[in-house]
Symmetry: C2
Subunit: 313 residues, 2 copies
């Protein structure tokens, strides 16, 4: 089948001055993922590549540019899932590696476990040959400003609101289906500005931040983490599709259901096993992009679908 | 409505010499929970009380008696959820508190977050007035023997198998509905013998180990953690019930579905919002008990329902 990759760069009340950086960033990232699919690579490698690209880009709240906890530290988390056998890898409370998604991928392939946190994640990563970086090298000016603003007049869980001229950073995620029909999903985040030490959000939780099942589809979510994990947002979308709802309707229904029940916003991107696309967000904005039929489709506003020609080189 | 409490003491290949301790333990624990319901207390307080009782009982793999990681340490996790508003609290990588479930409960009531791990969970607990105990005071002889046996010829993820004369310890959980029709669920565990440092299992993950929704019902799960979290077992049961399947059928279908897909065993206990009971396990044994209509029902073998008279004092 035709391979497809669909990504997001985070849902939230993204300020206008952050829109361009995010749109540029999701286009770069979706191309990085699609190149792998176009060369016959796996959905897993494609979603990792797209997320890596956004982890390196300070326009996004993942890897470099992650927001800071109350102690001024980066504490990142990520998950990745393979739809063929439901195998999964996730890490949390990662402080000194630039690419949490690659450690999560290694958990999927090389660990008897699915989820490793804190000191254990570091020990696992070192054992698998990953190299630490100084934690402060992951801190961007934007992230410092976001914590400052949070400490002055912040509201927890609205990290991505980006008061004034800052913020607007967002969790990142990717869903892909490769030419063999295999689905994979990856999600990575720095969490929320001003979070407590040790706070774990929805991103590394299979069923909340990430879900992939070759028999149904794949979902990556973003938004208010505590609400997403209480609602099991990714799995809720999967279950609607399992019962016959199409990808777009399922995504909209579950995101809306969560926002109605829990009074916080979120967004999600979804691919069905047939390659149908679902994109919905109840927040003000969510950057997203996908490549299908030699076109890049992308957007960040409600009811906005921009489109560029794209020929894989 | 008539309050009900249903609990489990863990699924696994429990050896015969551990059967009596577990049956005695679940009867004590279910009474501890039911007393609160009978006095008009909340489902949340009832499930906490039942789980506390099992955390103190070395027959179970939670609190005192938790199994040990590869470094010979206890690292516990727990979650609790309120069906009225989907509010949840969870902790992981807790090393020196005797009652992880009470810290999880405090996360539910007092934190803007839902899930806190490691050092952060300790800081939160100390801030809320919990007192540490020496980590080694939580280690039982059985847990030490289980790690020894695992290191000699263990198979990860089969903790509860209890090779030879040991093991048979199990995750604990409770589901209750109070006289107001509110549902709560609590689950607590020491994880699996010989787990890696930092390993996080299904127990603290909302949707995997625990789920409660007043509009549908409540579920607590036990068994092979990595499989339960990949399958989102608790949420899968909830979604079957939401679509009209009764509690017992939903529990059996989802546990069987997980075991067929992922080739590992699990068990779950379920209450519907109407107070219907679901109990199923694909493992050799799972201890369980519930109190309804002045009787304690309990069992540990397949197709076994024992029954004692019970009058709340």
């Amino acid at each position: 089948m035709e391979p497809i990759i669909l990504i997001h760069g985070g849902a939230g009340d993204i300020p206008q001055n952050r829109v361009k950086g995010k749109l540029d960033g999701v286009k770069v990232a979706v191309i990085a993922g699609h190149k792998i699919l176009a060369q016959g690579g796996s959905a897993l490698d494609a979603v990792e590549a797209a997320v890596l690209s956004m982890e390196d880009d300070e326009n996004f709240n993942a890897g470099y540019g992650s927001v800071l906890n109350l102690r001024g530290e980066v504490a990142m988390e990520a998950s990745i899932m393979r739809g063929e056998d439901l195998n999964a890898g996730a890490v949390t409370l990662v402080k000194d590696f630039p690419h949490p998604i690659s450690i999560a991928y290694k958990v999927l392939t090389d660990s008897p476990h699915s989820f490793i946190g804190g000191e254990g994640a570091k020990l696992f990563a070192l054992d698998k040959g990953f190299t630490t970086v100084p934690p402060e090298s992951l801190i961007s000016e934007n992230a410092k400003n976001a914590l400052e603003e949070f400490l002055q007049h912040g509201e927890l869980g609205r990290t991505e609101i980006g008061m004034k001229n800052e913020g607007g950073v967002g969790t990142v995620g990717a869903v892909a289906i490769d030419k063999y029909g295999h689905i994979a999903v990856a999600t990575s985040t720095g969490g929320m500005s001003g979070k407590a030490v040790g706070r774990i959000g929805d991103t590394p939780l299979i069923g909340s931040g990430t879900y992939a099942d070759d028999n149904i589809g794949g979902v990556s979510t973003t938004g208010h983490g505590e609400s997403i994990l209480k609602y099991c947002l990714a799995h809720s979308i999967i279950k609607l599709m399992e019962n016959g709802t199409d990808a777009n309707t399922a995504t909209k229904e579950a995101v809306t259901g969560m926002t109605n029940r829990l009074k916080n916003t979120a967004g999600a991107i979804t691919l069905s096993k047939n390659g149908d696309v679902g994109i919905y967000f109840s927040s003000k904005r969510m950057s997203w992009a996908y490549i299908k039929s030699n076109k890049i489709f992308y957007g960040i506003e409600h009811n906005q679908i921009l489109e560029d020609e794209y020929r894989p080189s």
